[in-house]
C-alpha cells in the first residue's frame, strides 16, 4: 500500500498538534538565534581571545645594549648573549644522579644545588650568565622543572685599565657606574614584541603584526684613547708601587678640544669579575675625591695679579725672611729666597710671594676668577658622585684665607677640575667644557678667563718651573718643551693638617703649541720622597712623553736634552 493511499491520512488530526509542533520549532529557532546573538554580540571578545590563544603567540624580541668604543673605534665594552638557568623548585624533583650531573655541568656544589631546589620559592635562579654551549648541555639533560633563558652579559676587554672610566652594568644589563650610567639612555636598547601564528610543532608560520619594534642601543664613541689610557694606567700603577702610596689618579686632556683622553685611578678593579669588590677600589677619585691642591694653584694667583695690572712678570717681590704673619697665623716658605720676580715665585713655588700677590687683590676678583675656572661647582659629566669641591663665598673670607688660597690651601678641588683649569694656560686664556665623547669638530672658542698675553706669560713661568732651578726638573721630556707646576699638600684629617701628603703635578706639552694636559695626583706617598717634584713629576714625564709619541706630535725642541739630574728646589707647603 502506498503511503498516499493510507487510510490514516483521511483521518483528521486535531489542529493543536501541528500548532504545537510549529511552536516548538519556532521556540527552538528562537533559542538558536538568541544563543548566536549572545555568542556573537556579548561574548565575542572572550571567545576570540580563546581561539587566538590556540595558535597566536606574542614573542619578545630582545634588543642589545650599545657598544662603548674608544676614539679609534676599538671596542671597550660589548654585550654578548649568555644563558641563565632557572628552576621551579616544585617541579624540579631530581634523583641524586641527575643532581650530580647538573651540579657538575654548572660547577656548583651538590649540596648548594640541592638547597636551592629544595626552597619553597616559586622561582629560583640556579646559575646566571653561563656560556650558551654549557646551557645547551644542561638542556640536553632534559631535567624536569629546569629551564633556561637568554640574557646579556657585558664584557670589558681592557678590564682594570678602563674600569673607572666605563663603570659597569648590573645583572639586568643596566648601567650602574661611570660611562655605563652617564650614557644609559643612549646605550640601553628597548626590547620589542610581535604577534605570530605558530603551528602544532611550535614553529612560527605567519607574522601577524609587530606590536613594538625592538630598538638596539646606540654605540657610544668616547673621546678616550685606549693607548694613552693604558700608558697612564701602567705608569700610575708603577708609581703607586714605587712610592708605597695609598691611592692616585691621572687625567689626560686634549688641550685643543677639551676631550678627556684618559682617566685612571688606583686602586682599581676588574669589571669582568666583581666578586671581591671593596669600596676603595670603586672610587673614581679623579672626579669624586677632593683635595687641597697646594702650589698647583699658584699660577692662577700670578695670572690674576698680572691681569690686574699691578704686577708684571719681572716685578720684584720681597719674600725674605721666608715667612709672613697675617693676624695670628704665619705662613712659611721651605727656603728663604729673598727678592724674587713673579716668574721666580712660580718657578721656586714661594708661598710668601703668592700670598703677597693675593693680598694686593680684592677678594671678590679672586673669587670670581676661581669660580670662572670651575672650582667649587661640579663638572656635570654625568658620573655618579661627582663633587664640586669647596670654594667659600668671598664675603666670609678672612685675610689669612685669601693668602692661603693663593697657594692652594683652604680650597679643595678634584683632579679633573684642576686639569681642566690648566686649559687656560695651555690655550690662549680661554676655558673649554670637557667632553667624554669624541668631538667631530673642535669647539670654536672657549670662555675667556685671562687675556692671551697673560696666558702666554704664565706659560713661560710654568716652563721655568721644570727647568733647573725650578721645583720639577724631573718633569722634563727630551725633545719637547714642557710647562707645569708641582703641588705638595698636607692632608687634612679630622680638621687638622696631618703628616700625610698629596703630591701632584699638572702640566702640558709641547709648550710652543700645547697639545696635551696631564694631571697626576699621588695620595700619601710613603717612600723617602713625598714632594710633587719627586713623586708626581716623573710620572707626568713618562705619561706625557709616551703619549706625545703615540700621537705623533713633532718635538718642538729636538736638540733639548733633559737635565734630569739637576736637583729640584724644595717647594713650600
Amino acid at each position: 500500500m502506498k503511503f498516499s493511499q493510507s487510510p490514516l491520512l483521511s483521518q483528521g488530526l486535531p489542529a493543536w498538534r501541528s500548532r504545537l509542533l510549529l511552536l516548538g520549532l519556532l521556540a527552538a529557532f528562537a533559542v538558536l538565534g538568541g544563543w548566536s546573538v549572545y555568542l556573537q554580540g556579548f561574548n565575542s571578545v572572550f571567545l576570540q581571545e580563546k581561539g587566538a590563544s590556540r595558535y597566536s603567540r606574542v614573542i619578545e624580541l630582545s634588543a642589545t645594549r650599545g657598544r662603548i668604543m674608544d676614539r679609534h673605534g676599538d671596542v671597550l665594552a660589548v654585550s654578548t648573549p649568555v644563558k641563565s638557568v632557572w628552576a621551579i623548585p616544585e617541579d624540579a624533583k631530581l634523583n641524586p644522579g641527575q643532581l650530580r650531573a647538573l651540579a657538575g655541568l654548572l660547577e656548583l656544589d651538590v649540596r648548594e644545588l640541592a638547597r636551592k631546589l629544595g626552597s619553597d620559592a616559586d622561582f629560583v635562579f640556579v646559575k646566571r650568565q653561563i656560556p650558551p654551549d654549557t646551557a645547551e648541555r644542561v638542556a640536553a639533560l632534559k631535567l624536569p622543572g629546569i629551564h633556561d633563558q637568554r640574557e646579556y652579559r657585558r664584557y670589558y676587554p681592557s678590564a682594570e685599565v678602563t674600569a673607572h672610566m666605563l663603570g659597569f652594568t648590573g645583572a639586568e644589563d643596566v648601567g650602574q657606574e661611570g660611562v655605563e650610567l652617564a650614557f644609559e639612555a643612549a646605550l640601553a636598547g628597548k626590547p620589542g614584541s610581535r604577534r605570530v601564528i605558530k603551528d602544532r610543532r611550535g614553529q612560527v608560520v605567519e607574522d601577524v603584526e609587530s606590536i613594538r619594534a625592538p630598538q638596539d642601543g646606540r654605540d657610544v664613541l668616547l673621546a678616550l684613547d685606549a693607548k694613552i689610557q693604558y700608558l697612564a694606567h701602567s705608569n700610575l700603577r708603577q708609581a703607586i708601587a714605587e712610592n708605597r702610596a695609598k691611592a692616585g689618579g691621572i687625567v689626560v686632556l686634549d688641550a685643543k678640544t677639551g676631550e678627556i683622553l684618559a682617566l685612571v685611578n688606583s686602586p682599581t678593579y676588574n669589571p669582568n669579575n666583581r666578586v671581591k669588590l671593596a669600596g676603595a677600589q670603586l672610587r673614581n677619585r679623579a672626579l669624586t675625591d677632593t683635595f687641597e691642591p697646594g702650589s698647583t694653584l699658584k699660577p692662577f694667583t700670578a695670572a690674576l695679579a698680572l691681569e690686574a695690572g699691578k704686577y708684571r712678570a719681572d716685578t720684584l717681590i720681597q719674600t725674605a725672611p721666608g715667612r709672613l704673619t697675617i693676624g695670628s697665623a704665619t705662613i712659611h716658605d721651605a727656603h728663604m729666597h729673598g727678592m724674587l720676580t713673579v716668574a721666580q715665585v712660580i718657578q721656586k713655588s714661594s708661598n710668601v710671594g703668592a700670598a703677597k700677590m693675593a693680598l694686593s687683590l680684592p677678594p671678590q676678583e679672586m673669587w670670581a676668577m676661581l669660580d670662572s675656572l670651575g672650582f667649587g661647582s661640579p663638572l656635570k659629566l654625568g658620573f655618579p658622585g661627582e663633587v664640586g669641591g669647596r670654594l667659600r663665598p668671598f664675603k666670609k673670607w678672612q685675610p689669612i684665607e685669601q693668602a692661603t688660597m693663593a697657594y692652594g690651601h683652604g680650597i679643595s678641588v678634584t683632579l679633573m677640575q684642576l686639569a681642566r683649569a690648566y686649559l687656560v694656560f695651555a690655550r690662549d686664556g680661554d676655558l673649554l667644557p670637557l667632553s667624554l665623547t669624541r668631538l667631530e669638530l673642535p669647539p670654536a672658542e672657549g670662555r675667556p678667563v685671562f687675556s692671551k698675553q697673560t696666558a702666554h706669560e704664565v706659560r713661560a713661568m710654568l716652563e721655568m718651573a721644570v727647568l733647573p732651578g725650578g721645583t720639577a726638573p724631573k718633569a722634563q721630556i727630551p725633545g719637547y718643551r714642557v710647562a707645569g707646576k708641582t703641588g705638595t699638600a698636607h692632608k687634612i684629617e679630622s680638621g687638622v693638617y696631618a703628616d700625610k701628603y698629596i703630591a701632584s703635578f699638572v702640566g702640558f706639552a709641547p709648550a710652543s703649541d700645547p697639545r696635551l694636559i696631564v694631571a697626576v695626583m699621588i695620595d700619601e706617598p710613603a717612600g723617602a720622597a713625598y714632594y710633587g717634584g719627586d713623586v708626581a713629576a716623573p710620572v707626568f714625564a713618562r705619561v706625557m712623553a709616551a703619549s706625545l709619541r703615540a700621537l705623533g706630535v713633532a718635538p718642538d725642541a729636538p736638540g733639548l736634552q733633559a737635565s734630569l739630574d739637576s736637583p729640584a728646589v724644595k717647594e713650600s707647603m
Partner: protein, 88 residues
C-alpha cells in the same frame, strides 16, 4: 547555460587551488625569512664576540709585553729620534 556554469565552476576550482598554493608559498617564504633573520642575529652576536676577542688580543698591555719580552724591542732614546720636516 550549462556550459557557462561549467566554466564558472572550473574557474572557481582553479582560484581555490591558486589560493592554497599562494598561501603555502607565503608560509614557505616566511619560514625562510625567519631562518635568515635568525642567522643574521647569530652573525651579529658572533661579530660582537670577535670584536671582543680582537680587543683582548690587541690590548696594549699584551702588545707591550710581547714587544718587550719576546721581540726584545724598546722605546728609542733621545738621541735615536730624528725628526724630518714634512714635505710641503
Amino acid at each position: 547555460m550549462a556550459r557557462i556554469n561549467a566554466i564558472l565552476l572550473a574557474l572557481a576550482v582553479v582560484c581555490a587551488l591558486a589560493t592554497v598554493s599562494a598561501n603555502h608559498t607565503a608560509r614557505k617564504l616566511f619560514t625562510e625569512l625567519e631562518r635568515e633573520q635568525a642567522r643574521s642575529q647569530a652573525l651579529e652576536v658572533e661579530w660582537g664576540q670577535l670584536q671582543l676577542e680582537q680587543s683582548t688580543w690587541a690590548a696594549p698591555g699584551r702588545v707591550e709585553k710581547i714587544a718587550r719580552d719576546k721581540l726584545r724591542m724598546k722605546a728609542p732614546g733621545p738621541g735615536q729620534i730624528i725628526s724630518i720636516d714634512a714635505v710641503r
